[in-house]
């Protein structure tokens, strides 16, 4: 009940819930994927599931960059940073993600120079302030963070800063959606499209999902009402037999995206032929690599990278959960060996990971906020 007062327009939330019930055909089961981890977090936090009829099912998608990073990349990054006079800089989200021999935070406890930065620009600042050390920024994220890394690399090149490089793990959302649609064990009816990724890429890149795959996409904001309205918009399309891309989050997302951000990405990055995703395996052209013209600032082109491939702990079923084939609580380790305090898999680390969200909001059984608002 705590958050009910803070809820914007609780009466509209109740109305949206009713509209969803009205639109959903009782003889049909709807599987709607929310692609973005931020949406997954919000859905759990607000207990939105409780407002949906049982035949409208939300499937959590792959849009949590920490969660989809295979362990081998963390091991690779940490092994590079084990060189003398290296500083390993990364966002706080990365610090507790387990590698084979521990998380960056555990490496720090063993003596590695590990720093949290909140911006890639600050990793550059670290390099300026530590000219006798090499600062490696361990970059992760979808198109929300990739343009900032690109601009930072452009600045490093302009300054001619030699003691800075980026270990690039940036991924792109569209090929992951394609991989999920191609997956034989996955049947989906539509997508709640990512909000902030779309401020960069715009809405056009989703066109093929509607035109070629016949599935509606609604780019959505993050408030409870935004998400419910998006589900209403999806169900309206499905009811009419339509499939198009709609933008529920017009107040923030321009249809064409952010061209300056896309230009910065094009200047610095090119597509990797393939990249491994945790749970989804190798997906072609799904990640960004630093162009040869920036080789000096690319940790992978500048240093020798082991190129480790590590399988996840056997009992952990992160892959199946990531694909939406298993629910978080169906994993054998969930809530026992693997908890937010002692994560085994990455989905338990980030607040946007579906396991952490499920653990925090379902496993611990708080009062449903949305359910209370609807009543």
């Amino acid at each position: 009940m705590r958050f009910v007062d803070e809820f914007r327009a609780p009466e509209l939330i109740g109305k949206a819930g009713k509209e969803i019930r009205r639109l959903a055909d009782p003889n049909r089961h709807y599987r709607i994927m929310e692609v973005c981890g931020g949406h997954t977090h919000a859905i759990y936090r607000f207990g939105l599931k409780d407002l949906l009829p049982s035949n409208v099912e939300l499937i959590h998608g792959p849009g949590c960059p920490v969660c989809v990073l295979p362990m081998g990349r963390i091991d690779d990054g940490l092994s590079l940073a084990a060189q003398p006079d290296f500083i390993f800089a990364a966002f706080g989200d990365m610090m507790r993600v387990p590698g084979t021999h521990g998380s960056p935070l555990e490496y720090k406890a063993r003596g590695m120079d590990v720093r949290i930065v909140y911006s890639p620009a600050d990793a550059l600042k670290l390099a300026r302030g530590n000219p006798d050390k090499h600062v490696m920024f361990f970059a992760i994220g979808f198109e929300t963070t990739a343009p900032s890394t690109a601009l930072t690399l452009m600045r490093a090149k302009t300054e001619g800063l030699r003691n800075f490089s980026v270990f690039c793990n940036h991924v792109t959302i569209i090929p992951a959606i394609r991989a999920i649609l191609d997956s034989p064990d996955m049947r989906l009816d539509g997508f709640v499209g990512p909000g902030h990724v779309s401020t960069v890429i715009g809405c056009r890149p989703y066109d093929w999902i509607a035109k070629d795959e016949g599935k509606p996409v609604v780019v959505s904001g993050f408030e409870p009402l935004d998400i419910l309205q998006s589900i209403v918009m999806l169900l309206r399309q499905l009811r009419k037999g339509e499939a198009k891309v709609e933008n529920q989050y017009k107040r923030v997302v321009p249809w064409e995206g952010n061209r300056a951000a896309l230009r910065a990405m094009a200047e610095v990055f090119e597509l990797r032929p393939y990249f491994e995703w945790r749970g989804l395996g190798f997906i072609s052209q799904s990640a960004l690599k630093i162009r040869a013209s920036y080789a000096q600032w690319d940790s992978e082109q500048r240093f020798s990278v082991p190129g480790l491939r590590v399988t996840d702990p056997k009992a952990a079923q992160c892959g199946e959960v990531l694909k939406g084939v298993l629910k978080p609580a169906q994993c054998k380790l969930f809530g026992r060996e693997c908890t937010p305090e002692q994560p085994v898999g990455a989905l338990m680390v980030s607040s946007e990971g579906s396991c952490a969200a499920h653990y925090n909001y379902e496993h611990r059984k708080p009062v449903s906020i949305a359910g209370a608002a609807a009543n």
Binding site: D122, S148, T199
Partner: protein, 102 residues
């Protein structure tokens, strides 16, 4: 990292370097405006910030909504921790930024 943090531009520091001072609920830090160079914001404009870079211009009402969303998501504190950390402003002696909690 995935948080979009709303802030108001209070001062353009350098047109060339695309830097501006932004106010986020009373905390002022420099952010990079380089990704908005097509429509450079001016003092008084509201922006959404990701990892120290302004990513989109928004209205004041949407900025208030976004802060409210962060509060509802329980992420307001993490957002403020991120903003305080911009510019390595609060880096402690052990090299970890202020606000890191085990």
């Amino acid at each position: 990292m995935c948080l979009a943090i709303p802030g108001k531009i209070v001062k353009i520091v350098s047109e060339n370097a695309h830097l501006a001072v932004v106010d986020v609920v009373g905390v002022r830090r420099k952010v990079d405006l380089g990704l908005l160079r097509d429509e450079p914001p001016v003092s008084g404009d509201w922006v959404l910030i990701h990892v120290g870079f302004a990513m989109s211009k928004i209205s004041e009402a949407d900025a208030i909504d976004q802060m409210q969303t962060l509060k509802m998501l329980g992420e307001a504190e993490a957002a403020m921790e991120e903003v305080r950390g911009y510019g390595l402003e609060n880096e402690g002696q052990d090299g970890l930024a202020y606000g890191w909690k085990e």
